[in-house]
């Protein structure tokens, strides 16, 4: 092979190797989740959990999922009832009030069950990781609803001077 071409090929390979090393190193450093790891892959990677901890958490998760599915179905049904009560209404009827109250009760019940599951999962982790998990899950679930509510009251748009 000609000398210049050979040198260019070597340079290209060195550049490619440097790029690949930096890319995969950075991915590993940022704790990238492997593809197809399932619903619990994030927990294992983010909280650096061992196999024993993951086995316990997997059991808890599998036990919780049917309850979660049931709650989903109840929420969907209750939302359907609320929408039916709202359909064609020109004011807030007694039925609408009742459905809104039922939705609120159901929402509180679901949130309580969800929180109970988060506590159980956090107890299956080392204490520091469990505390971080709890904080993160509150932020991602309850925090989302709280932010929506704060966005309604955070401005003075509805406050008269």
């Amino acid at each position: 092979m000609r000398s210049t071409t050979f040198k260019l090929v070597v340079v290209a390979l060195v550049i490619l190797a440097a790029f690949a090393a930096c890319y995969f190193g950075a991915r590993w450093f940022s704790a990238a989740i492997p593809e197809g790891g399932g619903e619990l892959a994030w927990l294992q990677t983010e909280f650096r959990l061992g196999d024993g901890e993951m086995q316990r958490i997997r059991q808890l998760h599998e036990g919780y999922m049917p309850k979660c599915e049931e709650m989903c179905a109840r929420i969907a049904a209750k939302n359907g009832e609320l929408n039916a009560a709202l359909g064609g209404a020109t004011n807030v009827s007694a039925e609408v009030r009742q459905k809104l109250a039922e939705v609120a009760v159901l929402r509180a019940e679901c949130q309580a069950k969800m929180l109970a599951h988060f506590y159980e999962v956090s107890h299956a982790m080392p204490p520091a990781q469990g505390a971080r998990y709890l904080a993160e899950m509150k932020r991602l679930t309850l925090g989302l609803h709280a932010r929506q509510e704060e966005s309604m009251t955070g401005t003075n748009a509805h406050v008269r001077p």
């Binding site: 000609r2 210049t4 071409t5 040198k7 260019l8 340079v11 060195v14 550049i15 440097a18 790029f19 690949a20 090393a21 930096c22 890319y23 995969f24 190193g25 950075a26 991915r27 590993w28 450093f29 940022s30 704790a31 990238a32 989740i33 593809e35 790891g37 619903e39 619990l40 892959a41 994030w42 927990l43 990677t45 983010e46 998760h61 919780y64 999922m65 979660c68 709650m71 989903c72 929420i75 969907a76 929402r107 679901c110 969800m114 599951h117 988060f118 899950m137 991602l140 679930t141 989302l144 609803h145």
Partner: protein
């Protein structure tokens, strides 16, 4: 004076010359081998643009700057890919456990 050469004298001259400078017999196919090597040399001549690129690339400052840029780009893309995969995996878990965020 005549320029014409007597063929018999020419043959004699050649014979004398061969005697004065004896040469070994050439191996068979020698001429073909010579032409082949000349053709190969022509084929191996490097185009000028490769030399120009090589000179440009092999300057130390440029080489170091390029390497640093490639490493920086790789690192940034790797971090971005890691964050993206983490976000999607996190969303997958949250959607699984939060009945209010489940897909209908």
């Amino acid at each position: 004076m005549s320029d014409e050469v007597n063929p018999s004298e020419d043959a004699r001259l050649r014979a004398r010359l061969r005697e004065a400078h004896p040469a070994d017999e050439l191996p068979p196919g020698f001429k073909n081998a010579v032409w082949r090597r000349i053709e190969q040399t022509n084929e191996n001549e490097q185009p000028r643009w490769i030399d120009a690129v090589a000179v440009w690339l092999f300057r130390p400052r440029f080489a170091l700057a390029s390497l640093a840029a490639v490493m920086l780009l790789g690192t940034l893309l790797g971090l971005a890919a890691g964050d993206a995969s983490k976000d999607s995996a996190q969303a997958l878990y949250v959607m699984a456990v939060d009945p209010f965020q489940k897909q209908p």
